[in-house]
């Protein structure tokens, strides 16, 4: 039973990270119907920024908790700046072009950002210190869950609550929902669609950066390629849940996390990715709109 619980919680942690990244995919898709393939790179840049800040601050002998908080904050700001610029440079000029053009542009940006970090940093794996403190209160459960997992779960929950409130009740959130449903009509109602799109990219980048810092702390090392793998997995999560749907992205993340965790634990860790993608294939065959996705219904 303990083993099952351990796998369950491990899957939940993993799934939270996928969910955090998948939210960015799904929000951007909801607004401009584009799969932002460079989204994983934003997450990677978040992790790298955090590592740089940590390296600098640790040498000053600052309190580790303060260091990781500051590093996380700077990583979010940096990633947001990248996400914002990415949209302005690579997608905005292609707003009215065929969808394929923007998709190719996204893949190009993904490759560019990977190689840019490769050149600017290194191709080796870099150690990422885990500055999240050990909580004494979870000591009795230490055999099934670690402090880092708890922090990941709580952070993810908080981010999701904030995001839900933002989208449901604030003015910009309402503008986002309207824009995603009918862009022309939204602009006729006085919504500045460009601002909404930029904001969406910023929001997605922020959640990706938070995910990046958390998972880097959890795994303990990063390189320029982590964004690609995580990006693909999060993309699977977004499609699983139904692309364009926020609860879907979260659910998809968890389902994917559990699938991987249980497959690793009960079958073999070699098959982790096989199961993840097998799931994607099955979903695409039997319910192409995803678990919570709504199939496009158009009325003439």
């Amino acid at each position: 039973m303990d083993y099952f619980l351990e796998l369950f919680l491990g899957g939940l942690t993993r799934g939270s990270i996928y969910a955090l990244i998948a939210l960015g995919y799904t929000m951007v898709y909801g607004i401009i119907q584009l799969i932002n393939f460079a989204h994983g790179e934003i997450y990677m840049i978040g992790a790298f920024t955090a590592l740089i800040v940590i390296s600098v601050l640790m040498s000053t002998g600052m309190n580790p908790v303060a260091v990781i908080l500051i590093a996380g904050f700077v990583a979010v700001i940096y990633s947001c700046a990248y996400g914002f610029t990415l949209e302005k440079i690579a997608y905005k000029p292609l707003r009215n072009a065929p969808r394929l053009s923007a998709l190719i542009s996204a893949i190009g940006m993904s490759l560019f950002l990977q190689n840019y970090v490769l050149l600017a940093q290194t191709c080796d794996f870099l150690p990422f210190p885990n500055l999240i403190p050990d909580f004494e209160c979870i000591e009795p459960f230490a055999h099934i869950i670690g402090s880092t997992d708890v922090v990941i779960l709580v952070t993810t929950a908080v981010v999701m609550i904030i995001l839900t409130i933002l989208i449901r009740y604030t003015k910009i959130g309402k503008a986002m929902r309207a824009t995603s449903q009918d862009r022309v009509m939204a602009s006729l109602m006085g919504i500045d669609v460009n601002t909404v799109i930029s904001f969406t990219f910023i929001l997605g980048s922020a959640t990706a950066a938070i995910g990046g810092v958390l998972i880097a702390s959890h795994i303990g090392m990063i390189n320029f390629y982590i964004g690609f793998i995580a990006g693909i997995k999060a993309f699977v999560a977004a499609v699983l849940g139904g692309i364009g749907s926020l609860p879907g992205a979260v659910l998809g993340g968890f389902v994917l996390g559990w699938t991987e965790s249980f497959a690793t634990g009960y079958i073999s860790s070699d098959y982790e990715d096989v199961f993840a993608f097998l799931f994607l294939v099955l979903i695409l065959i039997f319910k192409p709109s995803g678990i919570l996705g709504r199939s496009e219904q158009s009325k003439v």
Binding site: K171, K174, Q181, M185, L188, M189, G190, D192, Q297, K299
Partner: protein
């Protein structure tokens, strides 16, 4: 209030508007009639900034708007009910109305205006919590007009409000359009294929053909105009 001067609007290489000139004064109902593809909807889209004209000027209350993005034009007080209604399908009726009031900050007055549109269209009050996509065509048209009322526009642009609706609903909607103009002196620019109906409530009208305005006259004269009768009124 609205002055359109010799605008040419293109879709790619196709010139949809070949020099349209017209004028609307405050408090008027002006209609633009013409057959399919004459450029009526394009004229509205040009005013709104969705398909801005390549050349020519559009002035709204003295402000040149032909170079402004749609949301800026909306903020000046122009609101369009586009052809096909364009209800936000996954927002509820109440949320759709709320989107109409997006630019407004006077919350109390907004609430009063919601009551006002529910009075105009009681069926919407019943459907308040239903999502927009589940409404019937007529209800969607009512919602689209209500949403535009919520924006408190100075100039209301209506594109084919009668399209695809039963005669009974059409009559109801045209009564309301007339009432909006009477109640709040909202200027209305009405594009309509059903020239009969449109000319009944309008003060003045323009007839469009092939991207050009061919006749401009008072509604009464247009109804009596032999050419208009033959081509658009089916008499």
């Amino acid at each position: 209030m609205l002055i359109i001067k010799d605008i040419h609007t293109f879709y790619g290489h196709i010139e949809a508007l070949k020099g349209v000139t017209l004028e609307i004064s405050e408090g008027e109902i002006v209609t633009l009639v013409g057959s399919n593809g004459a450029g009526k909807s394009t004229t509205l889209m040009s005013v709104c900034g969705i398909s801005p004209p390549r050349t020519g000027d559009i002035h709204f209350m003295g402000i040149p708007i032909h170079n402004l993005p749609p949301h800026k034009i909306a903020s000046l007080g122009i609101c369009q009910v586009p052809e096909g209604r364009h209800i936000f399908p996954h927002l509820t009726v109440a949320e759709n109305l709320d989107m109409g009031a997006f630019l407004r900050n006077d919350k109390r007055q907004v609430r009063r205006d919601v009551e006002y549109v529910f009075e105009l269209f009681p069926v919407l009050a019943k459907r308040k919590k239903q999502s927009g996509g589940t409404l019937s065509g007529g209800e969607q048209q009512m919602l689209a007009i209500s949403r535009a009322i919520m924006a408190k526009p100075k100039l209301l642009l209506l594109d084919e409000p009668s399209l695809g609706l039963s005669p009974l609903v059409v009559r109801q909607i045209f009564n309301i359009i007339f009432k909006i103009n009477e109640d709040s002196r909202t200027t209305i620019f009405l594009v309509e294929q059903n020239a009969n109906l449109a000319l009944k409530i309008a003060h003045r009208g323009y007839v469009m053909e092939n991207g050009k305005v061919t006749i401009a006259d008072s509604a009464g004269n247009l109804v009596r105009n032999e050419e208009v009768k033959k081509a658009y009124l089916g008499i």
